[in-house]
Amino acid sequence: MSEKRQQVSRRQFLNYTLTGVGGFMAAGMLAPMVRFAIDPALQASSTGEFKAVEDVENITEEPTRVDWEIDQVDAWYESTVTKTAWVYKDENGDIVALSPICKHLGCMVTWAGNDDYPDQFYCPCHDGRYYKSGENVPNTPPPEGLDYYEYKIEDGTLLLGPTKPRGEA
């Protein structure tokens, strides 16, 4: 469990660093929703677009929510943004990582978010639904399926990158 402790101090360190570079406000706003699942060793190496989010062996066939942080820089602010994905293994054991952003108007969908549809993603805003594959259920508001995250597996750890829409898959 000493590794866990190390993780916390690394994270505090990062928060303080951000504070230093003026990201304080943004970090304050966005940090709360984060569950840190990042291995400190990997975090240092994944300065590119991909971030370590979870051990592959912890991923089951049940879609599970993972959260992680990325640094985002625009012309005026440097900020830390929380990203979320629904992750599971399909029947072939391949990883599927779906964006939670509803393709209708952008609310956050949840797996089994509606008791009537325990094996679908549900959007509470206008009853949008998606099958486990992320395909949209016809006759619900979303016009297309959930975006995928690009992913990599390194040393048994899942790394997630940018999202891409289904059309380009």
Partner: protein, 152 residues
């Protein structure tokens, strides 16, 4: 949706779907250091709350710029102005108006407000980075979003 050009552009393509307005009510005071610090902390934490709510329900909730007012025991004058906001919003597609605040004085005015008050006791800690505060906020936001859903 938030009050920026990009989100407004999207709003006008799907107005009938975005039927809920969220207005943060933020008190400002010049009394003394302690009260001013308290007001600043509430402003910071309050914005975390409303932004998280907006993030969950981006396609249905419109988050307005915060409404700031001078701290006072009697908020009846503010109620009149806020009800004008709510009336104007009603002329658009908004059917539900939620006011979010940490200021307990709104409780007294709750029944005069033309909208639903989401009031929470303020979080004491000024350290929004601490693990405890983060999990408290996360938990409270989940409760608030569940509450909003019951009005839909």
């Amino acid at each position: 949706m938030q009050w920026n050009k990009q989100d407004l552009g999207q709003y006008f393509t799907a107005e009938e779907y975005i039927d809920t307005l969220l207005i943060p009510l933020m008190q400002v005071t010049f009394k003394d250091q302690k009260e001013m610090e308290k007001s600043a902390v509430q402003q910071e934490t309050g914005m975390i709350f409303v932004r998280e709510m907006e993030k969950q329900f981006k396609g249905r909730i419109f988050l307005m710029p915060a409404y700031h007012y001078l701290a006072s025991e009697d908020l009846s004058a503010e109620v009149t102005r806020l009800n004008e906001w709510a009336a104007k919003a009603g002329e658009r597609s908004f059917k539900h108006v939620f006011f979010f605040s940490f200021d307990p004085h709104w409780k007294k005015q709750e029944r005069n407000l033309e909208g639903n008050l989401l009031w929470m006791p303020a979080i004491q800690s000024g350290d929004t980075q601490s693990k405890e505060t983060q999990s408290i906020i996360k938990n409270q936001v989940a409760q608030l979003t569940d509450l909003i859903k019951t009005y839909w």
